[in-house]
């Protein structure tokens, strides 16, 4: 399993995906950090069969809600993209689908955010959601390695 944490630690709650990647890496799970820019994402997952993306999202749900989507379900609605030139996670998935470059299994954890201003202050609800996602990913990684 490859975890890719997307976002920007300097844009408040947008750092949620990055925090998850940093934490699971400390716990021994293969993880990368990405700005979320489409081409970089497609490149990042090119060598992996099972990819878990983690990104902050805005859907209107309560702050801190954790979403888990199958990559095939993701559309531009319901995701926020504070990324290079407006090409973000949803665009990466759409483009990769056209180019047959989607990993065999792609899932997206979305963490509902509220603050996206410049700064490092992260909502308490988002911090709690980060812990929840870290736990889910590490439990699955441990189960995966036990199967191997």
């Amino acid at each position: 399993m490859l975890v890719i944490g997307c976002g920007n630690r300097d844009r408040s709650d947008d750092g949620a995906g990055v925090m998850v990647a940093e934490r699971v890496r400390e716990l021994g799970v293969q993880a990368e950090i990405s700005s979320g820019e489409s081409l970089a994402l497609i490149e990042a997952w090119s060598q992996a069969d099972d990819v878990v993306l983690v990104d902050a999202v805005v859907t209107g749900a309560p702050v801190g809600k954790v979403w888990l989507w199958d990559g095939g379900q993701v559309t531009t609605q319901g995701s926020i993209s504070i990324s290079t030139h407006g090409y973000g996670v949803a665009e990466a998935i759409k483009l990769a689908r056209i180019l047959d470059r989607l990993p065999k299994r792609l899932r997206l954890f979305g963490i509902e955010g509220r603050l996206f201003d410049f700064g490092s202050e992260i909502s308490a609800e988002v911090i709690a959601a980060v812990k929840e996602v870290v736990e889910q990913i590490t439990v699955e990684a441990v189960c995966d390695s036990a199967r191997i």
């Binding site: 300097d10 700005s35 489409s38 081409l39 497609i42 407006g86 759409k94 483009l95 056209i98 180019l99």
Partner: protein, 431 residues
């Protein structure tokens, strides 16, 4: 509608540019009454929070100004500080810095040519729609950009906001073997770049030429990246230390980004067209040859053709990267020591979008007393508005929706990086 014969072109959020801003054009009859490129992204105060920081922090802090061109910020910062401190660098470090910059040019130009600009010419709303019909083209872009990323990652420690560049050199320099591993990919990239020139040259361009003052670095021996004198086609020929004697930044009410002008004259153009027109003879033979093959020779005055010029610069960047890798012998030390002393240093380097000026004044403890940063997009902003004033006048008879799209396309020709310039884009055409 705002009255008889009046209409407005409005784009509230301009797509496929970096950052947030809007474009407002008011047409009254066949006359353009007003053009405002409104930059509403808030000012970021980088110059203020550099004050009191140690000079060694400047490359890492300023790299955060931009996710697309962090290498440019690092390079202008280290060169300016080295001038302030009288630091001399190893020739091998100079080569590595050029290679580092080539990596960023490959990344940035590939992104702009293929993903941001090409859809405008081919009639697609975005690169995703384009990919469905031009799969091989987008595949080529992905591979090209990856090669640029590899160079930046190898020299900078990571792809985004690299961390290895420092005053005097790098925290760690690569081995000859590490660089040699890039050769086969770069040889492919060189051929792919040549194909990119031919492909972009086959696009159809609006007939729109302007009499620009082109401003770029010029170096006696090489196509400019890290150093050279600042020159223009109207007689400017100065050292970076004289920059503020010749250029001034003006505040305009509708923009959080300053507008830069040449003192005593007005707007000017920086970026690929300026570099190409002022340094054509310095391009490596392979880039020179393919430019002539597609009929591209200076002066190129049509901004829409900048996509072809960017492609020629991709050829340059790949050829130059290969040359450097062949010549490279690791330096004895990864960096020169930088003393603590008072001083002022200025530097200009060529970011993918044009010249980037930095000035630092340092105290005896090595702390930054003042910092000034003039990014390429703020140097182009006044010129963008002037171009739109001319261009919109030709679109008066067009339906508002098409005129709006054409104006957006014109703005994207500049590859504006609005986050750097605030320092972001929405478009409004009013009739």
């Amino acid at each position: 509608m705002t009255g008889r014969g009046a209409k407005t072109i409005r784009v509230d959020t301009l797509a496929r540019v970096e950052g947030e801003g809007s474009l407002y054009i008011k047409l009254v009859g066949d006359r353009v009454a007003d053009v405002k490129l409104k930059i509403y992204e808030p000012p970021r105060m980088f110059e203020a929070f550099l004050r009191g920081r140690h000079f060694s922090e400047a490359p890492d802090i300023t790299a955060r100004i931009c996710g697309i061109c962090p290498v440019a910020y690092q390079m202008s910062a280290v060169h300016a500080i080295e001038r302030a401190l009288g630091v001399r660098i190893d020739p091998a470090i100079r080569l590595l810095r050029r290679l580092f910059y080539c990596g960023e040019w490959i990344e940035s130009h590939t992104l702009h040519v293929y993903m941001l600009h090409a859809p405008d010419f081919l009639g697609y709303p975005d690169a995703i729609a384009m990919a469905a019909d031009h799969r091989a083209v987008v595949e080529r872009a992905l591979r090209l950009k990856k090669i640029g990323n590899r160079i930046v990652q190898l020299l900078g420690g990571r792809e985004i906001h690299p961390i290895s560049a420092t005053v005097g050199g790098f925290y760690r320099t690569p081995t000859k073997q590490q660089l040699s591993e890039l050769v086969s990919d770069l040889e492919w990239a060189l051929e792919a770049s040549i194909e990119t020139v031919r492909w972009t040259a086959s696009l159809e361009f609006p007939n729109f030429e302007q009499d620009y003052e082109f401003v770029a670095l010029r170096h006696p021996d090489e196509y400019p990246l890290n150093e050279g004198r600042l020159v223009s086609n109207r007689g400017l020929d100065i050292d970076a230390a004289e920059y503020e004697d010749h250029f001034v930044e003006l505040h305009v009410k509708h923009s959080n980004a300053l507008h830069s002008v040449v003192r005593g004259r007005s707007s000017y153009l920086v970026g690929p067209l300026a570099r190409f027109n002022l340094n054509f003879e310095k391009l490596p033979e392979v880039a020179h040859t393919v430019a002539l093959e597609v009929g591209l020779r200076p002066p190129v005055k049509n901004l829409f053709r900048s996509i072809v010029v960017r492609a020629v610069e991709l050829v340059f960047a790949c050829a130059e990267a290969l040359r450097i890798i062949h010549e490279y012998a690791p330096p004895a030390e990864p960096r020169a020591e930088a003393p603590h002393r008072t001083g002022v240093g200025q530097a200009i380097t060529e970011a993918p979008r044009g010249i980037l000026y930095h000035r630092y004044a340092l105290d005896e403890k090595g702390l930054i007393v003042t910092a000034k940063i003039v990014p390429p997009t703020s140097q182009n902003l006044k010129q963008i508005e002037e171009d739109l004033r001319e261009y919109a006048a030709r679109l008066v008879a067009w339906p508002t929706e098409e005129a709006t799209w054409k104006c957006e396309q014109a703005v994207r020709s500049y590859d504006p990086c609005i986050s750097c310039a605030t320092h972001s884009l929405k478009v409004v055409v009013e009739r």
